[in-house]
């Protein structure tokens, strides 16, 4: 479904700030795979997500989705296939527009946008039933401005909007990191539910090791722009946090130093 081959990216090349962001990344996702990605700050997780979404293009290497090479496709064209939820709850929705209008924008992701009403009675019913899944009573507040919602509500809405049109690939970039624990749990459960329902091929970056272990069927660990560990479907269920710490030590010959990675 998704294939990254030999992806390399260097920021600020040939300056003192030169930084190797991605170093020969190879990753292959089968349809329905749910891969969680962990790694300390600066490991290249977000850069990799941006490569897939098209916000950044690799120096060399190819990105292909469903067999099509999309390496040079601009972000807005690639987002036909890709749903995305950002870390910032404010990033995934338009605050001055209503819930209904936001959902309508998500709904017309796949089709060419035309001069017809973004929402009509039929669509509105569909929007309502979809919003009901969130259990946040948003279906009865269709005309509320999204800017009035709390961070958790906005993130839940972003998640629904991202998965609305059954994208080929769902990218979740630390989408629970900015929320308080109870809200984060709600979003985590919702993620599980929506991904399972749509059988979506998913990549999720997280700082929370427990979350990375609980969710998904595969796990990869990144460090210094490389994928240093890849846990397959058969080994993932028995994985624990100490396992991960040990693996990291074995590979890198140093202790994992990020408290944040442990505690989330």
């Amino acid at each position: 479904m998704l294939k990254l081959e030999g992806i390399n990216k260097i920021f600020n090349e040939a300056t003192p700030d030169e930084k190797i962001a991605l170093d020969n990344i190879n990753l292959h996702l089968a349809p329905g795979d749910f891969v969680t990605i962990i790694g300390s700050n600066g490991a290249g997780k977000s850069t990799m997500m941006n490569m897939i979404s098209g916000a950044l293009t690799p120096d060399f290497g190819t990105v292909s989705i469903d067999g099509n090479d999309v390496t040079r496709l601009p972000e807005y064209k690639r987002s036909h296939y890709i749903g995305r939820v950002f870390q910032d709850p404010m990033a995934g929705t338009a605050p001055s527009m209503t819930i209904e209008e936001n959902v309508a924008i998500a709904y017309s992701r796949n089709a060419k946008r035309r001069l017809r009403f973004g929402s009509n009675r039929e669509r509105r019913d569909f929007f309502r039933t979809s919003l009901e899944k969130l259990h946040l009573n948003l279906e009865n507040r269709l005309n509320a401005k999204v800017g009035m919602l709390s961070g958790g509500e906005r993130q839940a809405l972003s998640l629904l909007m991202a998965t609305f049109t059954k994208p080929d690939i769902l990218l979740l970039d630390e989408h629970t990191a900015a929320l308080d624990p109870s809200r984060a749990e709600l979003i985590t459960n919702l993620t599980k539910q929506l991904v399972e329902e749509g059988n979506l091929t998913t990549l999720m970056v997280t700082h929370n090791m427990q979350q990375a272990i609980d969710l998904g069927n595969r796990l990869i660990m990144m460090d210094k722009g490389q994928i240093i560990l890849s846990i397959d479907e058969d080994k993932k269920p028995s994985l624990t946090i100490p396992d991960l710490m040990n693996e990291f030590e074995k590979i890198r010959g140093e202790k994992m130093n990020s408290d944040r990675a442990l505690l989330g």
Partner: protein
């Protein structure tokens, strides 16, 4: 006085089309587009040039709209493809249009390359065409009699046809704008002004949406310019100076008075704002020690006040609330201390 105000309302309704264009860029797209000063004149000069050459006024007005659309798209391309800052793209286009407008007006004369103005004194305009149809209906005489005899005013407007036709045009544009902003394309344009990152992740090309939005906005501005040229029977290279500030003043005044709860209401507010601005203008002109040329200064002051006053009022309110709470808290403490002394 009644006749003077009546004229202001007529003009206000025409300027409202320009204000709707400004609303589309400033508020919806969040793009401070200064092209307006130029594209207003582009609309006026294109229409005036074609009318002077004997074309049908309606065709001339349509061409003015197209010219404005192209001018707006150019600003959009400067910004999106040329990566030039929004304000600067607008200023560059405005300056470029000044020369272009002189050239457009020059087309109306055989012996000149450029012309600073075109008078339309003895030519047909949209308004004169409508007037010839309207005066046959006899409604004007009836209304004039009503105003003079029943309401007791000394003077009555010479015709009601103009206000009717501009009102219909402006309302049609308002309803089209309301509808457009609710279509799939319109929603995407609004989201572009609201959160570019989000709308890109929903497969919308923000660059083309910005170009389209600026094109539509300046098409409206040029439309308004074309109508003003026909209303006042001349086009002039300098008639657009400060137009953007007038548009902004209309948007701000309207929004402050009528609110922005829904799009339907906001577009009404913008139209009403444009009319109110014209009335203020007319009243200011009647003050003895003010000169017509002071109007730009007054406009600037109106906009500054409209931008600054709300902040000031909010701050005052906040301060008063805090002082009140402090007084209450102090009162409680004094009560408690008083109690201790007694005990």
């Amino acid at each position: 006085m009644f006749a003077a105000l009546f004229g202001s309302v007529e003009q206000g309704i025409i300027y409202a089309i320009m204000a709707l264009g400004v609303y589309l860029t400033f508020r919806v797209l969040d793009f401070p587009d200064l092209t307006v000063d130029g594209s207003f004149v582009t609309g006026a000069s294109t229409a005036a040039m074609m009318i002077a050459l004997g074309y049908n006024p309606i065709l001339a007005t349509l061409m003015a709209i197209v010219a404005g659309f192209i001018a707006g798209c150019m600003t959009g391309l400067l910004h999106t493809k040329g990566k030039i800052n929004p304000l600067l793209s607008g200023i560059l286009m405005m300056i470029a249009l000044y020369s272009i407008n002189l050239r457009i007006m020059g087309l109306s004369a055989e012996n000149a390359i450029v012309k600073p103005n075109i008078p339309l004194m003895n030519t047909d305009t949209i308004f004169s065409q409508f007037q010839s149809f309207w005066s046959n209906l006899g409604i004007d005489t009836a209304l004039t009699n009503f105003i003079k005899n029943t309401l007791g005013f000394q003077t009555a407007p010479s015709t009601w046809g103009t206000i009717l036709v501009v009102l219909i045009i402006t309302l049609i544009i308002k309803f089209i704008a309301d509808w457009f902003l609710k279509t799939e394309v319109g929603l995407a344009i609004r989201a572009t002004g609201d959160n570019k990152r989000m709308i890109r992740s929903f497969s919308a090309n923000t660059d083309s949406l910005i170009v389209l939005g600026l094109g539509i906005s300046n098409a409206l501005v040029a439309f308004s310019g074309a109508l003003i040229a026909q209303y006042s029977k001349f086009a002039d290279a300098n008639m657009g100076i400060g137009m953007i500030v007038i548009g902004l003043a209309s948007v701000i005044i309207g929004e402050a008075i009528f609110g922005t709860k829904t799009i339907f209401r906001t577009t009404i507010a913008v139209i009403a704002g444009a009319i109110i601005y014209r009335i203020i203008y007319a009243i200011a002109l009647r003050i003895d020690w003010l000169d017509t040329s002071d109007m730009k200064l007054i406009t600037a002051v109106i906009v500054i006040l409209a931008l600054v006053l709300p902040q000031f009022i909010d701050k005052r309110r906040e301060k008063r609330r805090k002082l009140k709470r402090r007084a209450e808290r102090l009162g409680e403490q004094n009560m408690a201390q008083g109690g201790n002394h007694l005990a």
